[in-house]
């Protein structure tokens, strides 16, 4: 056994992970601030006005990164939950629980900003577009995960039940997306695709990437802080 693998399992203990989580949180908070300031600057001041949508398109700098985060965090959450289930490690399950609220938040943000973007561009607050619908269901998946864990008093059962739910959910997400897309194309739903900005100006793309990085660093910082709270609360 090399020293590398020993170190890895060493950090699987909540107590030893505690200080590491703190360091990661501090670094990521700083990065989040840097990325969001530069992202907002590029998105609001540098990127040019869109030819068709005018200034309304600037919502994209929040909407798309938030949507990316909502999906990414769900997969990461399900992965941690699966690891916790398979290897019976408390910390893995804590990581899953720590990510859930933030994931749900970004899902809501994606839906909210999507709606506010849809009103001036499509003329309506809501459309049963494949993406919006699947995003809405993703929000329910997050709520289900959080609700299930909240309603089971025994920690171990809660973690393991949540893991099964998260795994079943993650398998279902592509199914949901494709079924809705199928349903949409048949019923001739909204044919406008959000990301089909054909020749997206480089600055627009840069703005999106910067905001995505900002949200990602924010998520890590928040998750790390939350895990620390959990460790302090539960590992006496």
């Amino acid at each position: 056994m090399t020293t590398q693998s020993i170190r890895w399992f060493w950090y699987a203990s909540p107590q030893t992970f505690f200080p590491l989580a703190g360091k990661i949180a501090r670094v990521c908070t700083l990065l989040a601030i840097i990325f969001s300031i530069s992202g907002l600057y590029v998105g609001l001041f540098v990127a040019p006005t869109d030819a068709t949508q005018g200034e309304a398109y600037r919502i994209i700098f929040i909407h798309v990164p938030a949507a990316w985060m909502s999906m990414f965090l769900y997969v990461v959450m399900a992965s941690w939950a699966a690891v916790g289930l398979a290897m019976n490690t408390r910390l893995s399950a804590m990581m899953a629980r720590a990510l859930a609220p933030t994931g749900a938040l970004f899902t809501f943000i994606a839906l909210w900003t999507g709606s506010l973007w849809g009103k001036p561009t499509w003329g309506t607050w809501w459309v049963w577009d494949a993406r919006l619908t699947s995003e809405l269901i993703l929000l329910f998946l997050y709520f289900g995960f959080i609700a299930l864990q909240a309603s089971i008093d025994e920690r171990r059962r809660a973690d393991r039940a949540g893991a099964v739910l998260a795994i079943v959910g993650v398998v279902n997400v592509p199914i949901i997306y494709y079924s809705v897309q199928w349903w949409n194309t048949l019923h001739q739903g909204a044919s406008v695709s959000f990301t089909r900005a054909p020749s997206m100006a480089k600055t627009m793309f840069l703005g999106m990437i910067l905001m995505a990085l900002a949200f990602w660093m924010y998520s890590i910082a928040v998750a790390m802080t939350r895990v620390r709270c959990m460790i302090a609360e539960e590992e006496r």
């Binding site: 329910f140 609700a147 309603s151 099964v164 279902n172 199914i175 079924s179 199928w182 048949l186």
Partner: protein, 215 residues
């Protein structure tokens, strides 16, 4: 195992009646609420019938394992020689026979209420025939995860609803396609595929959930 559950279900005839009655009532509420315009009813019929089937299925899920949990049979199943996955599959089948199949059989009557064109009855029945077992199989996962919890029916619904959505979309979509004069083959084949996948994996997930819930 299956035989035992079926016998129990048949004796509790009220369960079958409850599911059926709920289905019929929900389906009958919509014209009252939305207005009985034939054209509109015809267009919403597939969706309404499918949603009613979904709700009816969710309603009976809470009871799926509750009785066995209460009288200790569940513990015996967990300790027993028979593979838990097979037992679960049998229970899901029994659940479907009691709450899903009756819906398939009575759906044409509801469709009649909604003045759905006769040729669509077949597609409707077939979509429900393929879809309702999926609901039973997936619903069992939710029932197993929430065994003995306070949240009860509402919690199960929250957990299971996102998983039901593709089935709803495909099922109602199949009928809508047929209604538009196009072939519902795609949706029905996908439903069939989902059924096979669910039958293969859901009992296994449910078994894992049962073990987790009973420790």
């Amino acid at each position: 195992m299956l035989w035992r559950d079926l016998l129990l279900a048949v004796r509790r005839r009220s369960d079958v009646a409850t599911a059926l009655l709920f289905f019929v009532i929900v389906a009958s509420l919509f014209p009252l609420g939305i207005g009985a315009e034939p054209e509109r009813l015809r267009s919403i019929a597939p969706g309404v019938i499918w949603v009613a089937a979904l709700l009816s299925s969710m309603l009976s899920l809470a009871r799926l394992f509750a009785a066995d949990y209460a009288d200790g049979t569940l513990e015996q199943m967990l300790l027993g020689a028979a593979p838990l996955g097979v037992i679960v599959a049998a229970k899901s089948l029994a659940h479907w026979l009691v709450s899903g199949l009756p819906l398939v059989l009575i759906a044409p009557l509801i469709a009649l209420q909604y003045d759905v064109a006769a040729p669509l009855y077949g597609v409707l029945a077939l979509s429900l025939l393929l879809g309702t077992p999926i609901l039973s199989l997936i619903g069992a996962i939710g029932a197993a995860l929430t065994l003995g919890l306070r949240g009860g029916g509402v919690l199960i619904s929250l957990l299971v609803l996102p998983l039901y959505v593709p089935v709803l979309i495909l099922g109602a979509g199949a009928v809508a396609m047929a209604d538009a004069g196009l072939s519902p083959e795609g949706q029905l084949l996908l439903l069939g595929a989902l059924l096979i996948v669910a039958a293969a994996f859901a009992p296994w997930a449910t078994a894992a959930a049962l073990r987790i819930s009973s420790e």
